[in-house]
Every structure is written in C-alpha cells, then in structure tokens.
Symmetry: C2
Subunit: 337 residues, 2 copies
C-alpha cells in the first residue's frame, strides 16, 4: 500500500481511525500536526513557555519531549528515580541516553536520596504504591517547576490513557475526578503549576509508531509495582470498540471536553465555586469532594508548615509520607540498638 | 456450593456481582425482589395499572410477563408479528404456548395484514430494518394501549441492554438520546402512553437463568434482520469489565439515573423547556433535537391527519411508511398490468 499523503513511498503506519496510511516521513508530519492541533485547540502552551517535561523512560514521555523540542519549545526533562530495583536503573539509562542524543541533561530527582523511595514508603504507610507514587510525583512536579522557573509541566498521557481514565470515571460516576480530568489544568495560587497533556489527541499505537520510527530507545516493561489492572481493563474494553469502530476514542474524548457538555459545565461551575481547586493526579483516591491530601478541600489552601507547598492540612501529604518513613526508620534503628 | 440464602440446597446460579449463589427457589425470590426493587425505586408501576407487556418470544419479555403476573399485576401480552419468514412463526409459537400455559391469550398484531411487514417496508423505503421496526412497534404500543385502555406499556430491556445503550450514547455524547434514556418515560399528551422497563436492574444472565429454571420455552435465535453489531460490541466490551469487576454495570446505570447526575439534570431541564417531548425509541436515529419522525420537535405535536397519532408533521412516520409501501405495491401492480 502506498502512503496516502505523498503517494510515492510505501505506507508503514496504517491508521484506520483517520482513514489513512503513511510512510515514515509523512507519518512524522501527521503526528506532529496532531500534537500541535491538540496544543492549539486547548491553548496548552504558548511560545514563551518554559516547559518541564516529565520523562519516565517510556515511549509516551520521550516522544512528547522529542516533539516539543522539534516544535521549538524551550524544554527541560525531569526524571524522578522512584527507587525501584532494576526498573528504575533501566528507565534512567534510557532517559539519559535519549537526552544525551539531543544534547540535553535531564533534571534527576532520586527518591532514595530524598528519603522517600516508593517501595519503602508504600510498606511503611501501608498505602498502594501507585497512590504513594502519585503524591510524590505531584510534589516534585510543582517543586522543580517552581525552583527552575518553569511556567508549565507537561506529561505524556495519550488518548488511550485519557479515554481509559474517562471510561473508569464514567462507569463509577466519579464526579470529582470527572471535573478534574482535562488536558489543561490551570496554575492555581500557592505553588500549583499549570499541567498539560499535549499528546491527548494521539493514540498509544501512534505514539509507539512515532517512537519506533524515530529510533527512540524506550523501556517497554511496565512498572513492576503497578497493579493498576483496572485501567488496563478499561483500555482493553475500549480497544475492542475502537477495532470495530475506528475513531470512537477521539470522538468520545472530544465530546467530553466540549464546553457545552453538561458534565463539563458542571465541572466549570464547581471550579468557580471553589476558586482554588487542587489538581488531583492520575491516582488520586477517593470520590468525594476531597483534595489530594484526602482532607476536605473547601476553603483556601495554606502553605505546608514543613516545606511550604500548598495544602489543606497542617503539613502537606508529601511531608506526612516522608515523616512516616523517617519515624519507621528510627523505630527500626532503635529496635536494633 | 450451598445456596447462600437457605444454606441447604445446592446453589444453581452464581452471581458474583451480588457476592451470592442461589438454589433455584431462592434465586426466584432474589430475582423477583430485584425486579420489585427496580419498580419501586423509580415508581414504574402502581397496583391499579393495566399493563400491556410487549412480548417478542425472547427470554426477557416472557420473563417480564411471568414476574409481573406473579406479582399480581393486571397484564396482557402484545405480540407484534413482524412478518419475517420463519423467525416470526417460531417466535409467535413460543408466545402463544407460554401465554396458554398461564391461561392467557395475547393480543396479536400482524404487520403483513396491516400492510407494513418489516422486510418489505425496509426494501421499499431503503431504510434500515431496525429503524423501521422501531417506528412501527412504537406506533402499535401506543395504539393498542389506547384501544385497550392500558395505562402503561412494559418492555423487557434488561441491565445489559440498558448499559450497552448508555455506553454507546456516552461514547458519542448523543445528548438527545441520553436525555431520553430512562426506565420510566412518562405519558405525554396526545396519545403517548407511559413506557417502563421493569427489568432494568437484572442482568441478561440472571434473566436467562430465571427463564431456564422456570421452564419458560423462549426463542434463542436473534432476529435475522438485526445487524445491530454496535450494541453487541458495547455489550461485549462491558462484559469484559463486568467479569473483572463484578457489579460495575449496576453501579454505572444507577449512577446515570441518579437525579443529581449533571447529565440527568440537563435532561430534566431540557424536558421542562419542551413540555411535550417525543419518546424516542431504542433505534431512534439522529443526534440533533429531532423527533422520532425526523422533523424538528420544537412546538406541540398535532394529530396525524391519517391515523390521529401524535406527530410533528402532517402525517405520522408510521402512516408515511405505510403509504410508501402502498405506492410501491401499486406501481408494481401497474407495471405488471
């Protein structure tokens, strides 16, 4: 099959949802256009932005960084070493190698050095790893952005991620999560930086094809601590529909984002009632009107007594997690002594 | 495994979504309770109602009729013979046999005699069979109900049907369909009878188990004209989720029906703006603010010039379909003569 764009080269990527098939060069053009269109439509980024790109070593975030650099944005990569045996080393390697190939050095945060590695923190607090990881990552997204004077944080969530999350939120009518699900979360007072998802219009298959054809070497293994079976079930369920009815995912997500959608209007109204709304992350738990710390979010956030981050409690959830790890370590050391 | 209710008999039906397993007798109690709860919660039926139960010969509608009779409702069955070779005869046989076993004689409408059999009508009008069938059925639901002084029409849609439809409506954000999707559609002026779906809380598997254990002989074949592949894909997709997370379907549907759900509130508001809203059926096409006839529904319906049914055009969609069949037959007869 010939490329549908140049009509000369052999097609390498078949895209039934766009009734198209492209050769590698034309696919790059198509993919970048899709990302640009996603940025333009929701005004995710401005030319003068300093963008902190969160890179995990997986395909989505490295592809995101790649496209944003090619589009001329001022970017730096942030890699958070979660302290997971083997997996974290392999991920970091890919991030460093990719960055080096583009003449970049990513900002690296090592959670082990910060005293809050994910596996130990989850054990100490008896919390789910993904939940701990979400809290810790959000903390550093905001902190590194503030320290480095970045105007925006970008993550690599693609259309499959976003629609799986949307389906899960709809199946359980998690209104609080529905209200906060958007590729654009505005900056709010008190140190919560703007967060954007520029890949929201491109699918997982498209992102993987871009990464592969661009020769980006990324980790393919899933995080060994991630037992987030539910989001995989939602993805599989939507893949089944997408296969039979190509294009359903993008229609689903765009219709959700449509400002005239009653769900979005309800979300906007709630946001106005609540001028400073905390930016709950991907794995924020709880369906009620709760902030990322689990406490009631009515009212205005204050500065964490320990680190200064915005919180609705005395200290922020990050500092509380860290304190519990410290106490547990102390008790253990005491027990041994 | 023993029955979780009586703890004596062997369990025959395993229901992971209810963390239960029942012997046949206890399952009957459970199933009827579920249906009663569904009726009570949404006030679908009152003891004094005269219920017209639409029976197709399939499991759902026969089970519905069975439960409503056992619960003491005054019911009659309505069988619409669609005029589909073989399939219609086999379906009618089951309906008549079931009715006879309960000392009943169903009301039978034969579309061939009415001059509007589904296959010929679809050919003449070049419309999809399911769409023609929906229009014709709705017409007779209302007409037979009015003629027989029934206060309500009941159909056998179960939880799987309703959630598949809901998922499809959400994936495409068909707001008009979302606004009209409810197990209770109120009577409106001008001859549109109240329509209810008392099986909305029970799953397909539960309904099939009830029919099987009760010894109800129903047709298992699908309608040969039904190529409604989309609703099957949505069902399959939800089954995949239900299997991993039992109970998701009922949570999904109940959350949708919750009066505080922004989608329902938007639907209520739209209904108030538009005092007489046509009751679009399962296969009503078009996503805009259109009635079942396809014309603009703003304004008040008038009586069809030909049959008196409520319509927003000069004649109702049923009469227009019928007229096209008649004209086509005439042309053919003329061509032969």
């Amino acid at each position: 099959m010939k490329c549908k764009r140049c009509r000369r080269a052999e097609a390498a990527v078949d895209l039934p949802s766009h009734h198209a098939a492209f050769c590698p060069d034309c696919f790059f053009v198509f993919f970048r256009r899709q990302v640009k269109e996603g940025i333009r439509k929701l005004r995710l980024l401005a030319p003068e932005d300093r963008v902190l790109v969160c890179v995990s070593g997986g395909k989505d975030s490295l592809v995101l960084w790649d496209v944003l650099m090619e589009e001329g944005y001022e970017t730096e990569g942030l890699y958070i070493d979660l302290g997971i045996d083997g997996y974290s080393d392999r991920s970091k390697e890919r991030v460093l190698a990719y960055a080096a190939s583009r003449g970049k050095t990513p900002i690296v945060v090592e959670l082990a050095k910060e005293g809050i590695p994910i596996p130990e923190t989850a054990r100490c607090t008896r919390m789910q790893e993904c939940s701990v990881c979400g809290t810790v990552k959000r903390h550093f997204f905001n902190r590194v952005a503030a320290e480095g004077k970045f105007t925006v944080v970008a993550t690599g969530h693609n259309l499959d991620d976003e629609t799986a999350r949307l389906l899960g939120n709809l199946l359980h009518w998690q209104r609080d999560h529905l209200a906060r699900q958007h590729p654009f979360l505005p900056e709010t007072g008190g140190g919560l930086v703007r967060k954007v998802k520029p890949l929201w219009r491109v699918s997982e298959v498209e992102t993987a094809a871009y990464g592969f054809l661009k020769g980006i070497d990324y980790v393919t293994e899933e995080c060994p601590l991630s037992f987030d079976a539910t989001s995989l079930v939602y993805k599989e369920s939507l893949s089944l529909i997408e296969e039979k009815m190509p294009g359903t995912r993008i229609v689903f997500y765009q219709g959700f984002l449509d400002p005239s959608n009653p769900l979005r209007r309800a979300a906007e109204a709630a946001a106005q009632d609540d001028a400073v709304s905390p930016q709950g992350g991907e794995s924020a738990a709880g369906a009620g009107p709760m902030g990322e710390d689990g406490e009631d979010i009515l009212g205005t956030p204050r500065a964490c007594a320990s680190c200064g981050a915005p919180t609705f409690a005395e200290t922020c959830s990050y500092c509380r997690l860290k304190e519990r790890v410290r106490q547990r370590r102390e008790r253990r050391a005491g027990g041994r002594g």
